[in-house]
Amino acid sequence: MDYQRDIRFILNGTDVALDDVSASQTLLDFLRLERRLTGSKEGCAEGDCGACTVLVGRLGNAGLVYEPINACIRFLASINGCHVVTVEHLSGPKGRLHPVQEAMIEHHGSQCGFCTPGFVMSLYALWMQTPEPTSQEVETALQGNLCRCTGYEPIIKAAVAVSRYGTPSSDLLNAERAQIMTRLQALQHGKRIVSGPKDNLSIIPANVDDLADCLLSYPNATIVAGSTDVGLWVTKFLRKIGPAIFTGHLNALKTVERQGGQLKIGAGASYTDCQAILSEHLPHLLPYWNRIAGWQVRNMGTVGGNIANGSPIGDTPPVLIALGAEITLRHGAARRNVPLEKFFIDYGKQDRAPAEFVESIQVPLPGPDDLNAAYKISKRRDEDISSVAVGIHMTVTGNVISNARIAFGGMAATPKRATAAEAALNGQRWTRENFEAAAAALAEDFEPLTDWRASAAYRKLSAQNLLRRFYLEQDAQSAAPVQLINA
């Protein structure tokens, strides 16, 4: 096969070609150390603070889309074929400030200024999508940006006021959009790329079939989709990830569509990619979805990766298990389907063979008598890992419960169904007493741990209370709000 060695992309206005990019080199280190673009800062190197936020423009299924991402945990190799926009690109000719920058200055939106370039980039991305955002939309866009000085108030005010300083139609990235698309198209050569030193190879497959082939050649390679987890293996745990096979560019893995009675989610679809179709078909997941990490991570992280990494505290497995999802695993040309709940065998152990990869997730859509809920408890409401998460599904026909599927995260070594609680409900009537029995039965299902996120006692009690919340919320008799988001 004909390989390329070069990683090619556009950095602000410049074409870049690099012929030796190791698997573990991060975009942020490249920007700061090699290009001396020091506007993007390292605050945490784990995708939580947003000081390194840059925009990445990519030719996806919906054309050229710019999204804010965390440069600290994004691997340079994964930028191939993209347009990277840093804060240095924002000011116009002769240093004229961008409307976002002007608004931030006039509203006193910076104090120490270290987080500011990251905020500017997130707000820039927001303004391009939503020129006149509400303060709530701003908050959602800023879930991945930490500021320790201002208390955020002036930043929100600036964000809401940006359109007073200029409109996106006259913006730089819109003005150069056509020529950037042409330049990016010219970078798509349809060949596999293999770059970097022998002991730390970056492999960029040409397409999904080639991904399957690459894995046959490198069965123990690290598969890197959004790198929101693998990024930390490198920046925090100093692990070697090479050879790494990057999949973030494979549009065929990013398809999200309804197929008959189910949603088919390509394993490479980011959380953001899923947003629209979820709001149409699984609206109960939307508030939950908005609490997965911050915007940058939602743009990078994939549902497939969240599943494949097998974390007991991943956000998507409990709610997808409750919905009865199954996944398709591919090995070479062979495919097999596995119910999602069976994929998680034990802590750190999944039902995935070497050279196999998760290709898609199929989620059955609920019927008219089905009740669904997704709850997450975390120390901080947004951008936090759950202490306890639960997906609840059941069918209620003529006041009788059947088909109960209740799956918890954070309660065991894997995402796991509460079979005793389900048994306490199946075949029973919709009554408070029966839910109390189900809550009591959780004691048989789980023996949770104490850690820095929550104590065992809190996990037990709040898990029970989430069942009570479900009952109260769905019960026609209760009128008072039972969740803060509805208050």
């Binding site: 673009l37 800062k41 939580d48 603070c49 006193h108 800023l142 920046t235 947004d382």
Partner: protein, 772 residues
């Protein structure tokens, strides 16, 4: 003409931060952004993985065999004194020689061609040690017979024991108050560049360049005049860079001298959080007696603090906890004792409020206890105990409270926040809402301004006027985002009557102003603004003398106004006048100096006037909690805060808002969690949760008390603003407490510990429900 024109950036105006346009474009240089000298090496710390052990030896074979590693730096490489203690107690080695005292303690540094190589190599050392038993918190430490890290303080006034004997009502209780990580967005960093002879230049992100200079000199064994420390700006400090940066400066400097190459050291966020100190957590035992109306008769308080393995600033921090254990309330009889406990944890340090907030939380807990015991609105108990009235103006440290404006301030806030009506509405809501419950609290703050170490209350500045009329301003304070440079430049602009843009604000450097104090204790503007003003006044006096002599007018006929100088009937531009002064050989440069008057403190007696004045404020917060999960939301906060006559209302408001959110974070979601092995498991923003934009109050009304003016002769009658509003966050904690109390019909004080995480809220709800 004279009346119609004014300068830009005058004092008391909303001047934008002088670096704002550089912040938003990414052009502002932080230490990590400085272009490195050729051949710069990189250092990374190797740390312990046990909390307490006898250190036997370290095998560096694999470290040194790593390609790109230049060498290692250990205690044996310290040419001078192996100590970084900021109070000279000799209890904080750069690297230990025989004893490991906390998990994550730096034991050596690896020097390599790149940071990445140094960081990977540092993991390869084999540390051989004999593990010893450890104590992690102050209670464990007391039980294990651990010593104080520094002498405790006792404040006493009145007949405490007598008052308790005749007490009408008495409550004893305990509150645990958690610590806090600074989580400045820019972590610790230092870049050292060796020079000829003993010389060395260190660029660092430090709030205390002079101390860093003295520490580097001490560690290198050279005089202070060989060392220059520079800081242009910090990406946040909050007290975390007052003494903690010394380690990084010292390591970079030692390595730079050893290999005669520039050396940079920057820990990653996890190492920054595990190897450097934080806000002290406290366990506070209180005993209070009060009359039927809820007036306090006597207070006895014991304040045990987790200080960590060394003293660092724990002495003054625990002292300040006692200084603020009264908050705004008069204690007729009082005894307060600190117990600065040694623990096998990182040595805790300064953090905005410097122990004061922990003291204030204790005072507010006492108020709460009385309110629930007497069935009153806590605000009424607060008001009944405010300082004021005959014989009710003496603090536990015997300073008179002479400048209180709390009565007016609280009255105004009570009205503008509609506190009384909303409290009624909330109680009605709680009766009909089974799951969600609300709470509201209005809490005051009184905060003493001055370093309690009296000698720190001094500052210097250096002002040059160049012969084109441009001005170069340097002072000893450091810019960490608070707008200090902007405010001081406003003072200078106004004094010279020139546009703000005429003034170049330069980096802080020990070369220009010597022996400075840390930019801390909220004192930055008070001290450095006055020192700069003093320098300007010296130059202006020479200029006026020159004008009177040359133009033959009286001093009264010379005035500076709006970029011009009026001399008799002549009007010159400032620049033209300066040119003439230069040609006439007038000295156009001056070093300014300032020391705070009136203050004195006798620690042994526990008496004096440690504070020049007090700053005041109050906040009213409303919260909703979910009694099924403990989750909560701040619905509304109203703040009225006193900054005297504000030098820059926009920047001051920014300080108030930011401090409130930081204080709220401390008491809600910011939890430090050590495992049994003594390892801090909340060590980065993924696990340590500071507030996000969506955590701020849904409605947030922040006002400055624009009628306030400092009664003391501070710069332009302003007041310090950095720390006092931090404690406004306590209103959220108290509101959460009320919401929890509602589940037992407000009969019992919920006794929430801090931080009130959703877990603590839910478990308190469950406890009160179980007690009925």
């Amino acid at each position: 003409m004279k009346d119609n024109v004014s300068i830009t950036g005058t004092a008391h105006s909303d001047r934008i931060h002088d670096s704002a346009s550089k912040h938003v474009t990414g052009a502002a240089d932080y230490t990590d952004d400085i272009t490195l000298p050729e051949g710069t090496l990189h250092a990374y710390l190797g740390v312990s993985d046990v909390a307490h052990a006898t250190l036997l030896d370290i095998d560096y074979t694999d470290v040194l065999a790593t390609p790109g590693v230049i060498g290692i730096l250990t205690a044996e490489d310290v040419p001078g004194v192996n100590d970084l203690s900021p109070t000279g107690r000799n209890d904080e080695p750069v690297f230990p020689t025989d004893l490991i005292q906390f998990h994550g303690q730096p034991l050596f540094a690896v020097i390599a061609e790149t940071r990445d190589i140094a960081r990977h190599a540092a993991e390869k050392a084999k540390i051989n040690c004999d593990v010893l038993p450890h104590a992690l918190d102050p209670i464990q430490a007391q039980q294990a017979g651990y010593p104080h890290v520094t002498a405790p303080l006792k404040l006493e006034r009145g007949d405490v024991d007598g008052a308790f004997e005749t007490a009408s009502n008495r409550i004893k209780g305990r509150i645990a108050v958690g610590g806090q990580d600074h989580m400045y967005l820019e972590g610790h960093i230092a870049l050292a560049i060796p020079g000829e002879d003993d010389d060395i230049i260190v660029h660092s992100s430090t709030q205390h360049p002079s101390e860093a200079q003295h520490m580097v000199a001490q560690v290198l064994g050279v005089p202070s005049n060989a060392v220059v420390v520079n800081v242009r700006r910090m990406g946040g400090g909050f007290g975390g860079k007052e003494s903690q940066m010394n380690l990084f400066c010292a390591v970079a400097a030692m390595a730079a001298k050893k290999w005669n190459r520039a050396v940079k050291i920057r820990p990653d966020r996890d190492q920054d959080m595990t190897a450097t100190g934080k806000r002290h957590d406290f366990v506070i035992d209180y005993d209070v007696s009060f009359d039927a109306a809820g007036r306090i008769e006597a207070v006895n308080g014991s304040f045990a603090a987790r200080c960590g393995f060394s003293s660092d600033l724990s002495g003054p921090v625990t002292d300040r906890a006692l200084f603020h254990a009264d908050n705004a309330y008069f204690y007729p009889n009082v005894r307060l004792e600190s117990h600065p406990m040694k623990t096998n944890t990182v040595s805790n340090t300064a953090f905005r409020g410097f122990g004061g907030p922990q003291g204030v939380v204790a005072a507010e807990r006492i108020i709460e206890e009385i309110a629930y015991a007497t069935g009153q609105d806590p605000l009424d108990v607060r008001k009944a105990n405010f300082y004021g009235g005959k014989g009710r103006d003496i603090t536990p440290y015997h300073q008179k409270v002479e400048d209180s404006i709390l009565e007016r301030l609280v009255e105004e806030l009570e009205t503008t926040s509609d506190y009384r009506q909303r409290r009624k509405d909330i109680m009605a809501f709680n009766e009909t809402s089974p799951v969600l419950k609300k709470g509201i609290a209005l809490t005051p703050v009184k905060f003493g301004i001055s370093f309690t170490a009296t000698w720190y209350n001094q500052a210097g500045a250096l002002v040059h006027v160049y012969n084109d009329g441009s001005i170069h301003l340097n002072h000893g304070g450091t810019e960490m985002g608070q707008g200090l440079n902007t405010k001081v430049a406003q003072i200078v602009a106004e004094a010279f009557q020139v546009d703000f843009e005429q003034i170049k604000i330069t980096k802080t450097t020990t070369e220009k102003v010597p022996n400075t104090s840390a930019t801390a204790a909220s004192s930055g503007t008070d001290l450095n603004g006055m020192a700069a003003l003093n320098a300007v006044e010296q130059i202006k006096a020479r200029l006026v003398e020159f004008a009177t002599r040359t133009w033959g007018v009286t001093a009264e006929e010379v005035s500076f106004h709006a970029n011009h100088v009026f001399i008799g009937k002549d009007i010159l531009t400032f620049a033209a006048f300066i040119k003439q002064a230069y040609l006439a050989r007038v000295q156009l440069s001056a070093a300014g100096f300032y020391k705070t008057p009136k203050i004195h403190w006798d620690r042994a007696k526990g008496q004096g006037r440690p504070f020049y004045y007090y700053a005041y404020g109050a906040a009213c917060s409303e919260v909703t909690i979910d009694t099924l999960t403990g989750e909560y939301r701040v619905e509304r906060t109203d703040i009225l805060h006193d900054v005297g006559r504000s030098l820059n209302p926009a920047l001051d408001k920014g300080q108030v808002e930011g401090a409130f959110i930081q204080g709220m974070g401390w008491l809600t979601t910011e939890e430090l969690w050590w495992d049994n092995a003594g390892r801090l498991r909340t060590h980065a923003p993924s696990t340590y949760k500071i507030p996000l934009a969506s955590d701020r109050p849904r409605i947030f009304n922040v006002n400055l008390a624009d009628w306030s003016e400092n009664r003391e002769l501070t710069v332009k009658r302003s007041k310090a603003v950095g720390e006092p509003p931090f404690m406004l966050g306590i209103s959220v904690f108290e509101a959460l407490s009320m919401a929890v109390a509602s589940v037992a019909n407000y009969r019992a004080c919920p006794r929430l510990d801090a931080p009130a995480t959703p877990e603590r809220v839910l478990l308190a709800v469950a406890r009160l429900q179980a007690e009925g």
